[in-house]
Chain length 347, copies 2
């Protein structure tokens, strides 16, 4: 058909590529990127098409952010903490030990200045970040032996990355970095003693219960792990305003949907895992306290030498104190009452 310039300006055909840091098998995370792209295509009558690629199809999963910086692709769906090698500040874009849960993450991002603060930092890498999903509080991982005291962490070889790995090392453990597919054989052979992945729904697929049956919680290093859409700044600036608006709402949709899907599918998975032999264990109080103390020491070290980290960390922790003051009142007592009923089988 014929197209008029006046209309064509506001909704021109545009094709983007999105590289995900995740495989299609992590359908809850990968699906959030697909939902995002599908909604934008529909809302723009297929004029703005974003093709979604799984990790490795175009770019290795852990290089997604670089590809956005270089505009090899226009955007990515990734976890900022994969890039802590460049700067530890990236950890604060996803999750770091003992910070915010997922509702608090949303509150800080959308109404606590979080999006702007992260984008001030991401500007160095020539992209913006938008909240794009959350796993919720992750599990603490699979252990071949029980963890009863802080001493049990000494010499423990655990697949655990980033800040949490540093915390483990401070307590005498030996953090290891392994890709998802390499974890099971390492646990089976005993070349590692423990491994963290995500939560019941994702962990179940990798079969860890057969080789490391003690399933610990909580994942104190990921109280609410947020995924983000990274978008090249120039590519975003060049978008017509209507497409920018479509990106904003589709990202928010992906954000709330991904958490909702995890919450919907995790309960059945934890029941299947328990039926299959998983032994659910809370980390002992002294272990939690030692990890909290070690985390704070590491934060103090990083804050002392990294002003970008400190600026964001200070914002998050000021927000965190007030959040946990408030949440312990109505939310927590409501949930506690309901959990008591659940344990009594009264609900």
């Amino acid at each position: 058909g014929l197209a008029m310039p006046a209309i064509a300006q506001s909704t021109p055909p545009i094709k983007w590529r999105l590289t995900s840091s995740f495989p299609k098998s992590l359908d809850t995370i990968f699906g959030a990127a697909e939902l995002f792209a599908k909604n934008i295509a529909e809302a723009t009558d297929n004029n703005f098409q974003i093709q979604v690629f799984a990790a490795g199809e175009l770019v290795p999963g852990l290089q997604a952010a670089d590809a956005v910086t270089n505009r090899t692709v226009e955007m990515a769906h990734s976890a900022a903490y994969y890039y802590v090698g460049k700067d530890p500040t990236f950890a604060l874009g996803t999750a770091a030990p003992f910070l915010l849960n997922s509702r608090m993450q949303n509150a800080w991002r959308y109404y606590g200045g979080g999006i702007d603060l992260m984008n001030e930092f991401y500007a160095k890498y020539n992209f913006i970040g938008l909240p794009g999903g959350n796993t919720g509080s992750q599990m603490g991982g699979w252990f071949r032996k029980e963890i009863k005291t802080v001493d049990d962490l000494k010499g423990l070889k655990m697949r655990i990355a980033g800040f949490a790995g540093q915390v483990l090392a401070k307590l005498g453990g030996v953090p290891q970095q392994l890709a998802g597919g390499d974890i099971y054989p390492a646990l089976e052979k005993g070349t590692i003693d423990a491994a963290e992945w995500v939560g019941p729904y994702d962990d179940e697929k990798l079969g860890f219960v057969k080789v490391a049956p003690y399933y610990y919680y909580p994942g104190w290093w990921e109280g609410g792990a947020m995924l983000e859409f990274f978008i090249n700044k120039d590519a975003y600036a060049e978008l017509p305003k209507p497409y920018q608006a479509a990106v904003q709402s589709a990202a928010a949709m992906a954000n709330v949907h991904m958490q909702a899907k995890y919450d919907a599918v995790n309960p059945a998975a934890i029941k299947r895992l328990a039926a299959g032999g998983a032994q659910l264990k809370p980390f002992p109080s002294e272990v939690m306290e030692a990890c909290f103390k070690a985390s704070n020491e590491i934060y103090a070290e990083v804050n002392a030498k990294n002003p970008a980290f400190k600026k964001i960390y200070d914002s998050i922790t000021a927000f965190r104190g007030d959040q946990y003051l408030w949440f312990q009142i109505s939310e927590y007592t409501y949930d506690t009452f309901m959990m008591v009923q659940q344990r009594k089988r009264a609900i």
Copy 2:
């Protein structure tokens, strides 16, 4: 300028009116409807414009759903439980005693069949409902005197609506229906003894602390009160597909933003209220248990005579059991640890 038919078909100029059930002064709720309309206008280059009206401007707040049924307006932003007079099933669209918290609400709506189940019911009223915000767990309200035992509920005149009012009546209390602006004078004069409204941020504006200082929690009748966008079915069906997609994502955006804003503003409000004399009190365990028992009795009565209610209630409660099984593992232990640190002033 000139417009081409081929393009005009997919993005024709359309103007809708949205009536909110809320006043502009409830800026967190009202703001979610404004955000929704603004995003859609931007994403469609102002071709699809939705004008947002506060309660009373076009239609009284509690008649918003009727206006959508009759297509007096194309859509509303409302709380389904305002319409329990038509059918108690409406309560399940917002919140009812001892059901889901706000994250669970999202999980049930988006991935637990909740949206479809509610829409099957709403079809009778010729509209569809989309999640459009959440207050989170509400507070239990303001009391002139302390509630120490179930006996203290006997004869208690409380501004409390819907199912919760029935529960109170079952325990000897006297539920009252009062509009927001009438609550303060009634509490001041002592014509009522207690009143529930929303949570700290909204309650603060009405000044209850001066006349009823005991601020109880949790609001067991609203563990996660969901707002919805009600859209006339015919109006929605007539929308071009791109506009339908824009409605879906903008509604999800409003949903996550409204909860995030409440979570961001409530902590400072609770601190100001406490500084201003509010005495925070958890409902005693025996009161919670009695309300839970009475609620279940009422549910049994309604289920026995209302199959539409029962179908949705059964879905929610099956979902609820598994949710509270799962949430007590990682989320709860993470939050508990953090709350202990908050009380120790260690965060």
